[in-house]
Symmetry: C2
Subunit: 323 residues, 2 copies
């Protein structure tokens, strides 16, 4: 059995707790949190303080780090990798090379394995970009996201004065996807690929027209997109827009022999983003445990890990059943 | 540079010759054939006898074996792996474990690397079945093939008396795919998943009705499917049905947290089956060369090979650009 510790218990940590229940070769040691463990309502797992993890070092094979990329993981991944095999979902794209370097040095020095930037993007989408481009180097890869809730954009809406609550959906342009699939060559702008749909709840007396204009012209977040704004009640937002759907498409349109069209497409349709991301982290936790038990050490990404390490099945059975 | 030899020059060998032209880190040593090399029309590559390969052993890093699974590869893969790193597309499913074992023994004994059963199914589809099931163990995976030409079924048609030429398309049931995508639980029969479309050319005086009945009731090939038979002229067959389109879908419908639907889909739409398969073999030839140069030996499948080995780019650049 592989003994897992969950570090941080937000949406992602909860998803990991659920995902481990589906795995036959894993046990959950517990949830380790910055908060008072007494206040944590888990789905059965014992809760401990963060400090308690080190005391239970011998009981833990892999720590799954469930904090955020902005402030938690840049500190937690190096700190935990000094003592444990770790898996994180670090997704601040521009910082990945630095994060990898820092974590690799610590893992090498301490004989641990750390799988960084796991999940679906970065993660499964990255894998599909790599496989597609390696196989069809003469081609174009486009990634589309959604339909899904963007937490960052929803947060940006909530910071606008006069908005009390909001949900933002990123919507891929399916017409463009269909045209690429058919082999059309397109020069795509940001506006062509996605549109942004905002459902907002206003505070009393707020200026609906002014706020709509503020949203549509907001640099970085909305100005470069076609943006739809819909004003709804808090009740309606609660009823229909508090889910976490997401997903997307990696579409690679390549050619062989000069002009023969070959299309590779990978698509995720997720009812719950965090639960799915958690399921990916759990599979890579298995890989971390196995790599470590084989005597490997250092930082890894999804690119460095042979697929067999993710599966609970033996490689003989994989060859027989899945090849 | 990685120096490649093509062993066998049918559709697949031709595809490999084209695919290598797209790779910046590979050179083609030549085409090695059982036929008289003088009679081989390549797209520029020199042609040699099979025996010549051994004499040029020092010039060759990887042999890509382009023969068929029925009789060529069971002999050629072991024979060539005794002297060279090799890649094959062995696809006789029930024989894969034996083929692996035989090739592994020879590769281990001779210090070579052999990647067997590469291509898209087995190959990329296998990878996607593995990733999906490892991540969402509570779920169902279905593989659909087509729309595409089945050589085996086309050959079976041509063996029927009264048929002078034929093309058979395997067509996936897109309605079923759409229902699975939406999370429906379905018990599927062979007939539900695919239909078979036959375009046949009759010899003069052949009994159209009798032949149609013979096709539709042919065990193993057509009896378990809804089969459409269309009689056309040789000219029309030549004009519209001599291509090699293929593709398909691996659809995994899983759940997290009891009932949250999560769908993973991988789809290939290929204008030319052999050229695409060849492109996959070429990427795995790169992996074979690298594994060998790192001192590894033995038989490998797509499950055993970390994605980074397929790409010409450095792992630093992959982390920066594709993760």
């Amino acid at each position: 059995m592989i003994n897992i510790a969950i570090i941080g218990y937000g949406n992602l940590g909860r998803g990991v707790e659920q995902a481990i229940k589906q795995q036959t070769d894993m046990t959950l040691v517990g949830v380790f949190t910055r908060r008072d463990p007494q206040t944590i309502q888990t789905e059965g797992a014992p809760a401990f303080t963060l400090e308690e993890a080190l005391k239970r070092k011998n009981e833990i094979d892999v720590c799954i780090l469930c904090g955020g990329s902005a402030t938690d993981l840049p500190e937690q991944t190096p700190a935990f990798t000094a003592h444990f095999n770790t898996v994180d979902s670090f997704d601040t794209h521009a910082e990945i090379p630095n994060h990898f370097k820092r974590v690799d040095e610590i893992a090498q020095a301490n004989g641990t394995v750390s799988v960084i930037s796991s999940g679906w993007d970065p993660g499964l989408f990255s894998l599909n970009r790599l496989y597609a481009q390696a196989i069809l180097p003469q081609g174009e890869t486009q990634t589309f996201w959604g339909k899904g809730v963007s937490q960052g954009h929803s947060d940006a809406l909530r910071r606008i004065e006069g908005i009390s609550d909001a949900t933002q959906y990123t919507i891929p342009n399916e017409d463009i996807i269909a045209r690429l699939r058919n082999g059309e060559k397109l020069e795509l702008t940001t506006r062509d690929k996605h549109l942004r749909q905002c459902f907002i709840v206003l505070t009393e007396g707020a200026d609906a027209e002014g706020i709509t204009e503020t949203i549509k012209t907001m640099p970085n977040y909305f100005a470069d997109y076609d943006t739809e704004v819909t004003i709804i009640s808090q009740e309606e937002l609660n009823l229909h827009h508090k889910g976490m759907p997401h997903g997307g498409t990696v579409l690679h349109t390549g050619v062989t022999n000069g002009s023969t069209k070959q299309v590779i497409e990978y698509r995720l349709a997720l009812e719950h983003n965090a639960e799915f991301t958690a399921s990916v982290l759990v599979a890579y936790a298995r890989a971390a445990a196995r790599l470590s038990s084989e005597g490997h050490q250092g930082a890894y990404t999804v690119f460095d890990i042979a697929p067999k390490y993710l599966s609970a099945a033996s490689v003989e059975s994989l060859r027989k059943e899945l090849l």
